[in-house]
Symmetry: C2
Subunit: 282 residues, 2 copies
């Protein structure tokens, strides 16, 4: 997915928010906004928003020296999600359609996003999404693919959401590889966050090599690319991964909540819609 | 009022919105965003947001060649406001406190603002504001000042809102000078817009000389400065004028609806609050 013009004010907003959280003083914050402003001219609209985002957070990191501004927030999100885990597990256990319920729960976890959202209430928002209708639901295809798959590549998104992913992964019989970001970027899940979420108990955790807040294939390491090509099923969580993978040449399933107008427009749905979408552009 | 860091993403948003409306193609729109981005570095946070805004709209104007992108919108706003005029006049006629009702109506007109708001519904929003409590209401002082004033300088804000201003001006016995912007800027009222609003029937319309979307005193012409110093009562409408005049060294009254978090914070009120505030920093 290319960058839309609407994304550019949003990058400034993200630079402000991340800068506000990490800058030592007003001078640092102004420098972050200055440099993010200057970045626009150097950037092509053919790049994905995730690539743009990577540059914005690089600026914040270089100016403030803070490598992982969302570290505490990520720990807190994982903690809160883990507290919900038993209740969510019970919902799945009691469901007549366990897999569909687990898909819903995995999407519900996608609300934990400090790049797009400013505010969310985990428990309330999760309970809303558990009742929400899907705007796109390619469930039968997904179920069929999941049942026959021997290997599943599950591309994770945010820390905390990762605990919700665990609940879905527990429904699969296949060997699951859970892909994470190489470095801290916004509140995206890294190797450490995935381990803290307990994903090592149900999957092989693997860094894609990407430093952007989304899967940019030409930034991925060779091992990831091999997995990406060979896995029987690829599941992509969240907006950032969608941005990088919406045009790729292999079948995969997107699980996400459309949290901004731009992603919604690109998907042909409304903002706040939830989707399980089969993309097969062959 | 100085520029807050929160204003910077908002300038990018305004550049996007005005650019989207006027740019001939994507290249022009990208250039507008590029140049607005580069502008940040050159700007001091000690300047007012209105000065920043003037630069943003200058960029849009220079790149697109469109001098008055909001021309049709302004004409439409004036037309819609004029259609409401008889009904609003009747509300004042039937009121037990005509002046206070006219103040309310003048503030209600302040919702017509394409710089801050994306969407508003004139009739509905006006009827809401007519019932809304004031967050600050220095009415007795205002009434007293208005009754004893021989000359009133009324600094206008947006086109369309100008028709609502007329209803308030009709309640004054004093000679009223209605100040407008020198050039088209966003949907701010110019001389032509004020005449179209019928303000020439109740006031002397006068350009402050300012090309910014707010009254920046060091950009005002000498005639305006004389009026500003000598008028018995100065009324400043809307956010843009507040930005330029909040720290000036003369008593005046601000009439506005706080349409953004930043202005609300600066005024010590909540977003969407309405105020009639006496500023006397002597």
């Amino acid at each position: 997915m290319k960058t839309y013009f609407e994304c550019i004010p949003c990058f400034m907003q993200q630079a402000f928010r991340a800068g506000k959280m990490t800058a030592k003083d007003d001078n640092q914050l102004k420098t972050i906004l200055d440099e993010t402003g200057c970045l626009i001219k150097t950037f092509s609209m053919q790049s994905t928003p995730a690539e743009y985002g990577a540059e914005v957070y690089r600026i914040v990191r270089e100016i403030t020296g803070v490598e992982d501004p969302y570290k505490k927030i990520k720990e807190q999100s994982i903690k809160e999600a883990k507290e919900l885990y038993p209740e969510l597990k019970q919902i799945i256990e009691q469901s007549e359609n366990r897999l569909l319920k687990a898909v819903r729960i995995a999407i519900a976890g996608n609300i934990i996003d400090f790049g797009v959202n400013k505010k969310f209430s985990l428990k309330e928002d999760v309970s809303k999404i558990l009742k929400q209708d899907f705007a796109v639901l390619d469930f039968e295809k997904f179920k069929h693919s999941a049942e026959k798959a021997k290997t599943i590549l599950y591309i994770g998104d945010n820390a905390g959401e990762s605990v919700f992913d665990k609940l879905l992964i527990e429904e699969f019989d296949a060997k699951v590889i859970y892909a994470v970001r190489e470095n801290p970027i916004i509140n995206d899940a890294t190797y450490e966050d995935a381990v803290n979420s307990g994903l090592d108990e149900v999957a092989t955790i693997f860094s894609s090599g990407v430093k952007a807040p989304g899967t940019i294939l030409n930034q991925c390491n060779d091992e990831f690319m091999k997995l990406f090509q060979s896995a029987d099923l690829v599941i992509s969580k969240g907006q950032g991964n969608y941005e990088g993978l919406s045009d790729v040449d292999r079948p995969l399933f997107f699980l996400l909540k459309a949290k901004c107008e731009v992603i919604a427009k690109d998907l042909g749905v409304d903002k706040n819609d939830i989707i399980l979408k089969d993309i097969n552009i062959h």
